[in-house]
């Protein structure tokens, strides 16, 4: 008989996941009223938007009233760069993180100590939902640094009482050595990187017999990929959801049922809206996920448009948690894509190309997955303006374009020069992104 799944056991840290729905709604409303008031008092952009819509915090008498309040967009973070949406003075802010923005400038997020404590709490609950506990050895292969993945998972796993290996990303062979030698039982990384690790381990003749759980996120992945990971490695693959604008990883997590992601909605209030009209949709309907931070002091996000397309699952979960679930995220309502954990907008690619060429050439982004690693190729049509009779001039151009992309996006992309008018244009509008990844 297989050993019982530790994810089915109750972990004390998970208690808030089981609060009766009625109590949860009361708590949410109380927190929502407080945070909306805070944002209204301290964030000029939010106050102005509220005035335009003729709403004030006093209008928030029920959770449904939230629908009357204005959205916050990713561009709002850019327009108020770097600190314009902060609601706490710098004396109270103890951490900054940043993620890629739409025009080369990153989007900056801030945390007070209390915010970090909440983040750690939800990460503990996330790990607990995956059956992790004291005694587990967690290899944290999310990148440490400005990216929220590394530190978010780190503090959560430590607070859980697990043994954390802060190995960060990269150096595959060393990752495999550590996985085996340190008897690692759980790993945090992107699912595509884990597949890469598993393939390399096979080549090296190593296995991860102690590894039980993978907490995979920071990029979209499919059920097919989960089945492949679980069949190939015997590791239970959990999907974790988060975004830096809200907190980082730990907004939502799968439980042992692996049937949608529970949102820690005592801290992050979910709505699903029509991406075009912005109207709030009923539970079960597919639309864009909108999140409101209920307890984040340094940077309250009121009705943040995630651009992630999903639906709230109204049915209770087999695990008994009362916090609601969302369907796994399969696509986005904008043209952003995620590669190696980095958010990329085609407009960023345009900025990079423009910086080199002066005018915007026709281009196409081709995403592939080779040996579990995402590769990004940018095909650029050669124009008479940049064409040179000399090979080395064209190679220099290619190199400059690659450098500019690296500088703007923070990831390596291969540039291929292609002939004029060879890239597809459908109905006069170019198809900017061709995603060939099997995810």
């Amino acid at each position: 008989m297989p050993p019982p799944d530790p994810a089915r056991r109750f972990h004390p840290a998970s208690a808030p996941d089981y609060v009766p729905a009625e109590q949860l709604r009361d708590l949410q409303l109380a927190r929502l009223q407080r945070i909306v008031r805070r944002a209204h008092e301290r964030v000029p952009l939010f106050r102005t938007r509220c005035q335009e819509r003729q709403v004030s915090p006093a209008d928030l008498r029920s959770l449904e009233d939230l629908g009357r309040f204005p959205f916050t967009l990713k561009t709002d973070l850019r327009d108020t760069y770097p600190f314009g949406l902060f609601a706490s003075p710098m004396e109270e802010i103890v951490r900054l993180h940043a993620s890629s923005g739409t025009t080369g400038k990153p989007t900056v997020v801030a945390y007070t100590q209390a915010d970090l404590d909440v983040w750690t709490e939800v990460m503990v609950r996330a790990f607990a939902a995956c059956g992790l506990h004291r005694g587990d050895v967690v290899q944290n292969a999310y990148g440490y640094g400005l990216f929220t993945g590394g530190l978010g998972a780190h503090y959560g796993a430590e607070a859980l009482g697990a043994t954390v290996i802060p190995i960060s990303g990269g150096n595959t062979d060393r990752q495999i050595m550590v996985l085996q030698d340190f008897a690692v039982t759980a790993i945090c990384c992107t699912p595509s990187y884990f597949l890469h690790l598993a393939e390399r381990a096979r080549e090296l003749g190593t296995d991860f017999s102690k590894l039980r759980a993978g907490i995979f996120g920071a990029e979209p992945w499919s059920e097919a990929m989960r089945r492949r990971i679980e069949a190939d490695t015997g590791v239970k693959a959990y999907d974790i959801y988060g975004l830096s604008e809200i907190v980082g990883p730990g907004v939502g997590i799968e439980c042992f049922a692996q049937s949608g992601l529970h949102i820690f909605e005592d801290h992050f209030y979910p709505e699903v809206v029509d991406p075009v009209t912005g109207a709030v949709l009923p539970d079960g309907a597919e639309g864009e996920l909108v999140l409101t931070t209920l307890s984040k002091d340094a940077m309250p996000m009121i009705r943040y448009r995630t651009r992630d397309v999903t639906a709230l699952i109204p049915e209770p979960c087999a695990c008994g948690r009362t916090i609601r679930r969302i369907r796994r995220i399969g696509r986005r309502s904008d043209d952003m894509f995620i590669i190696r954990g980095v958010n990329v907008f085609p407009s960023q690619v345009e900025t990079a190309l423009l910086a080199v060429e002066g005018t915007l050439p026709h281009y196409q982004i081709v995403l592939t997955r080779e040996k579990g690693l995402d590769e990004m190729e940018v095909r650029v049509e050669v124009t008479p303006e940049v064409f040179s009779d000399q090979i080395r001039a064209l190679e220099a151009l290619q190199h400059k374009l690659e450098q500019s992309l690296d500088h703007t996006l923070g990831i390596r992309a291969r540039v291929t020069l292609v002939g004029p008018r060879t890239l597809q244009r459908s109905e006069g509008k170019a198809q900017r992104v061709v995603d060939k990844r099997q995810i």
């Binding site: 050669v382 008479p384 064409f387 009779d389 090979i391 291929t416 020069l417 292609v418």
Partner: protein
């Protein structure tokens, strides 16, 4: 003194070379000489034709990226060491020779005509004066190739 060459961007894929050749053929333009430089990803086709302007026009209309550059046509004795003699003229001059390809090789058994792409054609021509080689005029070059 200088000859105008047309350079075309080609993708490195089967069939890429055929399009410009077909376009020129349909326009009745004869290719007098050509050179193909290639890398892993792309290539540059360099062409010598008589009616440069018309060739450029039809190629651009067909969607090609075309650039006109000047090359030097140099008549070299067709014998062992002939090219080495010519290159000797540039030694120590700092002149950068980008590439060479033939317009006519083995013509009349006595001389070959080579096309030189250099950064400074005038300087190159001056360096070659007084050597066993001769820089050809445009007309002489076309005559040498029988066009």
């Amino acid at each position: 003194m200088k000859l105008t060459q047309l350079s075309l961007f080609l993708e490195n894929r089967p069939g890429a070379l055929r399009l410009p050749c077909q376009v020129l053929g349909q326009a009745g333009i004869d290719i007098l000489s050509l050179s193909l430089a290639d890398t892993q990803q792309f290539g540059i086709l360099r062409l010598i034709v008589k009616d440069v302007e018309r060739a450029r026009k039809v190629l651009e209309e067909a969607g090609c990226v075309v650039k006109a550059t000047d090359v030097l046509a140099v008549e070299v004795p067709d014998r062992a060491g002939g090219l080495a003699d010519m290159l000797g003229a540039f030694e120590g001059s700092g002149l950068a020779l980008e590439y060479i390809y033939p317009l006519v090789a083995g013509h009349r058994g006595k001389t070959a005509v080579l096309l030189l792409r250099v950064e400074e054609p005038e300087k190159a021509a001056a360096l070659l004066a007084g050597r066993t080689v001769r820089v050809l005029s445009r007309e002489e070059a076309f005559e040498a190739v029988g066009a």
